[in-house]
Subunit: 414 residues, 2 copies
C-alpha cells in the first residue's frame, strides 16, 4: 500500500465511526475552534514560512494576499468552524417514506457520503472550512492543498486532528496529504477504492485536470462565465447598477460577470449609461463592432475567445444582440452554466429567460453576485457546483450527503 | 467533428427543445408505443438477424434468450413506454424556496439533466425503456448498445425517432450509435462537451470500464454482492425463507444474494434448515470451515475470492460469524453496497444493522429482491445506482433530473 492508499484506508475506517457519531461531531468542531485560537501563534509562524517562500518564488501580490494569515483571519477561521457547529445536523433526516401493500415500510434516510477528497490551491483557510463542513456531515476528509500553503496547511491540519482526537473521534477524520507534487494529486484522483467523491476547489486549470483525470466521482466547481442580458424592456439605470455591481464588487470571484449582452433596441441609450458607471472603476470594455459604433474608440474589439473567457479582472466583453433569442443562444453557447441574469420589466421575457437559460442560478433583475451559499441561506458553502449531477449551484451540508433506503419487514419475500 | 461529436451537438440542440416541451413529451411517448406495435414485424425481422448471428457466434442459451424478441415482448415494450407516459412529469417541480430579507425570491426548480448517454449490453428492450424514461424527464439520449443486438436496436431506434418527429419534437431526442466497436464507446465516455451524464447498464466488466475511463460524470449501476445476515435472535424459518427467495427466485439479477452470514450461536440449528430449503434448487454451498463442520462434505471450501464474487448463479457462499460486529465488518469489507439484510427478532440489533450497514438498501426481515424501482413504487427504473453521488438505489424519473436556482429580484445588488 502506498502512503495515500493507507490514508484512504484510515479515512474509510474513520468514516464508519463518523457515520454514527451524532452530537460528538459538534464537540469535535468546538474543540477545533478552540485549538485554532489557542495555537494561533503556531499557525502564523508556519504561515510566515509560506509567505517567505512565496515571495522568493515570485508570487503575485494578490496570491500572497490569499496566502497570508493574520490573527484576525485565524479568528475568522475559528468563528467559521463554530458557525458550522451551530448548523442543524442533516444526517438521519427522513427524505421520503411509504408503506407498500405487502407491509414493507420504506424510508429514504440522509447519510454521509463517506470519504471526501478535496484538492485546492493557495488559500489555507480552505483547510479548516472544508474539513469542518465534511466533519459536520459525518464524512472523513482527505485534503490536498497547494504547495504554496503547505506549512500553514500542515499546522492547521495537525491542530485540527489533535482537537478531534481529544473528543474521542478518530483523528483520521481529517487528513492532509503532505506531498504536494503532481503525483500525489494524480494518485488521489484514482483512489476509487476509498474515495466517494472528489471536489476540486480552484482555478479553471485545476478543475479541468481533475474532471479529465479522476476515476472517482467528481463535483465540478466554480468556473463562472456569467452574463447580464439587458433586454429592450430593461430599466436602464437598474441595468447599469446591476452590471456595475456584478462586474466590479469583486471581479476575481466566480459569480462576477464577464460579458453583457444588450438588445439593439436599447443599446444606444443604455450603453453610454452603463459605460459611465463602469468608468468609475476603469473597466476595460471589449465589444462587438456595434458596441464600438455606439461607444467609440475606447472599446477594444472583442475576439471570439473573449466571449469564452473568465477574465476575473476589470475587463468586460460587450455584445449588441438583435433579439431575445440571440441573447439566449449566446448564453447557451458561451456560458459555463454558473449564473445568468436578465434585466427586463417585461413579464413574459422574464419567464422565458428563467425557463430557457440553463445555469445553476438564473436571475431576473438582480446581481449574479448573490450566487453564494451564505447569501442563499445554506449556512456555509463547500463550493459552487457547475455540473448537473448530484449538486448544482452553491453546495451546503446537504450536498455533502447521500441517502440510503431503509426497509423494515416481517418476513416478506418476492 | 467526428460522427459521435455531431451526434452530441444534435443531442444538445434537441435537449434545449425538450427542456421546454411539457405535455408534448407524452404525445411523443404514445406515438412511440403505437409505432412499436405497428412495426412489430419489422422489429422481429431485424431481431431474427441478431439471433442468427448470435447462434453463429456461439452465444449461450441465456444470452440468446435475453436477445430474443417475440410479439409478446414487443407488446411488453410498447406497454412499458405507455406506463412511462402515464407517470407524473417531474420537470418544473419546486423543490424548495424562500424569500431573503433583501426581497429576493429564490426557488429551486427541477430541470432535465440535458443529454444522457447510456451504454448497455445485449438486451434490445433497453433501447426503448431507457429512451422513454430519458424523454419523459426532458432529456435527449444517446444510446450505445451491444453489437449482439445492433440490428434490433437500429430498428427500434429508427421507429422511435420517426414517431417522435411526427409529434413535432426533434428526432434527435433519441439517437443510437451504430458503430459497435470499442472505439465508439471510448469516444462516448470522453464526450464531455455534450454529455451531462453517462449511465452504463450491464455486467461488472462494462461498468468498471466506464467508471475508470469516462471523463463525463457517471452513475454506476447494478453490481450486487448482497448478503443476508442470520442473527442469533433470528426466526430460523423466516431466515430460510428469505434466503431461499433472495438466492433462487432469480439468481442472475443484482438484488439476489451471494453470501449468507450466520451467527455461531444459531448456526447449528439454522444451517441445516437453510440448506434443506436451498437443496430444492440444488444450490451449491461454498462455506467456511465451521459451515463444513456443521453441514458436512456437501459444502465446498469458500475462498477469499468467493466472498467478493457476484455469482449470479445457484451458488451461495456461507460464513459463520461469532458476533454481530463480525457480520457488519464482513459486509463493510466485501459488499458492493447494493442490498443488505439482517434477519432478527431483536429490536436493538435491527436498529444497529440499519444504522451501521452502508448500502443503497438495508433490510430487516425481508428479501433483498425488493430493491427495484417498480417494487419501491418509483414507477419505472433506469437502473440501480451503487454509488453515493446524485442517486443511490433504484433510480426513477427524479434521478434523471437536475435542478436550478431561479431568483426573482427588483434591482438587488450585493
Amino acid at each position: 500500500m502506498t502512503v495515500i492508499e493507507q490514508m484512504g484506508a484510515r479515512a474509510k475506517a474513520a468514516a464508519r465511526v463518523l457515520a454514527g457519531a451524532g452530537a460528538q461531531k459538534n464537540k469535535a468542531l468546538l474543540s477545533i475552534a478552540k485549538a485554532l485560537r489557542e495555537n494561533c501563534e503556531k499557525i502564523l509562524k508556519a504561515n510566515d514560512i509560506d509567505i517567505e517562500n512565496g515571495k522568493n518564488a515570485g508570487l503575485t501580490a494578490s496570491l500572497l494576499d490569499r496566502l497570508k494569515l493574520t490573527e484576525e483571519r485565524v479568528e475568522g477561521i475559528a468563528e467559521g468552524v463554530e458557525q458550522v457547529a451551530a448548523l442543524k445536523d442533516p444526517i438521519g433526516d427522513v427524505l421520503s417514506g411509504n408503506k407498500l401493500e405487502n407491509g414493507l415500510e420504506i424510508r429514504r434516510i440522509r447519510v454521509p457520503l463517506g470519504v471526501i477528497g478535496i484538492i485546492f490551491e493557495a488559500r489555507p483557510n480552505v483547510t479548516a472550512d472544508a474539513a469542518a463542513l465534511c466533519l459536520k456531515a459525518g464524512n472523513a476528509v482527505i485534503l490536498r492543498g497547494g504547495k504554496e500553503a503547505i506549512n500553514s496547511n500542515k499546522a492547521i491540519a495537525e491542530i485540527m486532528r489533535e482537537a478531534v482526537e481529544k473528543t474521542g473521534l478518530p483523528k483520521d477524520s481529517i487528513q492532509l496529504i503532505e506531498d504536494t507534487t503532481r503525483a500525489s494529486s494524480t494518485e488521489l484522483m484514482g483512489l476509487s477504492d476509498y474515495l466517494d467523491v472528489l471536489i476540486p476547489r480552484g482555478g479553471a486549470g485545476l478543475i479541468k485536470a481533475v474532471v479529465e483525470n479522476a476515476k472517482v466521482p467528481v463535483i465540478e466547481t466554480g468556473v463562472g462565465n456569467c452574463h447580464v442580458y439587458v433586454d429592450e424592456y430593461a430599466d436602464i439605470d437598474m441595468a447599469a447598477n446591476i452590471i456595475f455591481n456584478a462586474k466590479t464588487s469583486r471581479p476575481s470571484v466566480c459569480n462576477a460577470i464577464e460579458t453583457i449582452l444588450v438588445h439593439s433596441k436599447t443599446a444606444e441609450k443604455a450603453l453610454p449609461v452603463i459605460k459611465a458607471r463602469l468608468d468609475e472603476k476603469n473597466v476595460e470594455l471589449r465589444g462587438c463592432p456595434k458596441t464600438a459604433e455606439i461607444l467609440g474608440d475606447c472599446v477594444k474589439p472583442a475576439t471570439e475567445e473573449d466571449y469564452y473567457k473568465e477574465f476575473l479582472d476589470y475587463i468586460l466583453a460587450v455584445k449588441v444582440v438583435d433579439s431575445f433569442e440571440e441573447a439566449v443562444d449566446h448564453i447557451a453557447k458561451y456560458s459555463s452554466g454558473h449564473s445568468e441574469c436578465i434585466v427586463t420589466e417585461n413579464y413574459t421575457r422574464a419567464c422565458e429567460f428563467l425557463n430557457q437559460v440553463d445555469a445553476a442560478a438564473v436571475y431576473v433583475n438582480a446581481s449574479t453576485r448573490f450566487t453564494d451559499g451564505g447569501q442563499f441561506g445554506l449556512g456555509a458553502e463547500i463550493g459552487i457546483s457547475t455540473q448537473k449531477l448530484h449538486a448544482r449551484g452553491p453546495m451546503g451540508l446537504n450536498e455533502l450527503t447521500s441517502s440510503k433506503f431503509v426497509i423494515m419487514g416481517n418476513g416478506q419475500i418476492r
